[in-house]
Symmetry: C2
Subunit: 296 residues, 2 copies
């Protein structure tokens, strides 16, 4: 029985998504909560999470997706426990999945910096990591033209300079398409760096904060933050759009722009195909990534 | 020499605006920074701040306004120091007021939860507290229909219920006008509770978060949070709009609704008249408030 979880987190106090011994991570907190919820149901091992976007330390998510597999014994025990609680008035009106969400949030959500929005039985073939058609990230950057909002400082990079947002937008749009993005990827033996960048744009919101929307089939490690850094270099007048495209087509990592800070970055949405195509999409992605140990 | 400061803060880690011994407050932090900046310039006492909205503990501001008065000796010393630094390349391109902002933020802004956006020589007659025509507050409330964003938990109240946002909007609009708002004010001997509520509405944003806009000439203490609590009671089906209006016109504090939590509340904007009318407006407000020690 596979469940799909939709969830969100503020990454400030997490050492990223992936479980790491001795560190507070999103995966670690959620798997610990899951282990508590299924404890005693059976001798089956506690479920593990597979995620759409393995975000780095400090990166946030509003539309993260993960899946987990429950054994038949775990699923039956959850349903039994839920029926029992519903009978005494608790969890009435909730499905077993809805009750699971409440219990996970009750354990992992104490600091309110991670919240599971929903859990649902996944359609056949669904794989949170391999089924996506695309991932969409947003980046928030407040330069000296922006009205800085201290309430949103956890997820907005404050840049102590003024940048040309229109030049950044033009540079971003010039990068879109199917390319080898090796110049924007941390090198990794045997991994392909060819990606389809579907959307990349910059605009200022009502407060003058620069908002980037970046969407691709998948991203190599630190690619979004390198893409942001490259267009910021254009916005500061340090490189031209032509130089940026030459860097991209040179396909070698450069020092011409920085990888921008994690705090401005949020995984906003993951796009999946229609249910009937989930399995085929996962098989296709797996084949393409066989040489790619780290997909996101 | 009177300066107008425009500033913003996340109220989470402050015990409100007003200076209090032993507590971290916005006024306390900013006045300490100002004292450092003017120290040594003269024997004149350090400037104090007068503010448009004296926000409670936990309340935020994106559009707060304050003023301070510098003596001639302090103003001359600031200008001299600025000319000196500009000569060696620091603060070049800044006005003395711009340089003051940078220095205050350098001292008070270490935690980035308070930021001065600008300082400017105030027009004659300007008084941050008595000149405003109106104050506008916003309240963010995420009920069970909303997509909760952990990144914005510092300034959004999470309500563990589902509310009827349209009923809340209708109730809010019914309250607008010139009324005695005693039912929404913490009682205070000799203080008038008659206010003009200029705007009050509720809408859901793209994430389903309920946003209230509340604008009045002035607010008595805890009035915005009581107005929010009253419409939430309507949204929960606990009272009707007619009952709410009867409560308002009864003009006595009731227990029919709670004063909502501070964390959802932000002072968004303060409206001042044209420069020529600043002094007249301040005189008019002072006359009206002579019996009202606490205006906001």
């Amino acid at each position: 029985m596979r469940l799909r979880l939709d969830l969100a987190y503020d990454g400030t106090a997490f050492s990223g998504w992936s479980r790491q011994p001795g560190l507070r991570t999103v995966q670690g907190e959620l798997e610990a909560a899951l282990a508590t919820v299924v404890r005693g149901a059976s001798d089956d091992p506690a479920p593990q999470l597979t995620v759409a976007g393995r975000t780095d330390a400090g990166v946030h998510a509003t539309g993260q997706v993960a899946h987990l597999d429950l054994t038949a014994a775990q699923w039956s025990a959850l349903q039994r426990a839920h029926r029992g609680r519903a009978r005494v008035g608790e969890e009435a009106g909730h499905s077993p999945e809805g009750a699971l969400v409440r219990r996970i949030n009750g354990i992992a959500g104490a600091a309110a910096d991670v919240i599971v929005h929903s859990a649902a039985v996944a359609p056949p073939g669904f794989d949170a990591r391999f089924s996506p058609l695309w991932r969409r990230y947003e980046y928030r950057l407040a330069d000296l033209h922006a009205h800085r909002d201290p309430r949103r400082r956890s997820h907005t990079l404050w840049l102590p300079s003024a940048v040309d947002g229109e030049a950044m937008d033009a540079a971003a749009r010039a990068l879109v398409g199917l390319h080898d993005f090796a110049a924007f990827c941390r090198p990794r033996e045997g991994a392909t760096t060819i990606r389809t960048l579907l959307d990349y744009s910059w605009m200022r919101d009502a407060e003058g904060v620069l908002i980037a929307v970046v969407r691709a089939d998948a991203f190599c490690h630190s690619m979004v933050r390198a893409l942001v850094g490259a267009t910021v270099a254009v916005g500061l007048g340090r490189i031209t759009v032509d130089e940026l495209l030459a860097i991209r087509d040179g396909a070698a990592r450069t020092n011409d722009f920085p990888v921008m800070g994690a705090k401005g970055l949020t995984l906003a949405e993951v796009g999946y195909p229609d249910d009937a195509e989930l399995g085929a999409r996962a098989a296709q992605t797996r084949a393409k990534r066989e040489l790619t140990p780290r997909p996101a």
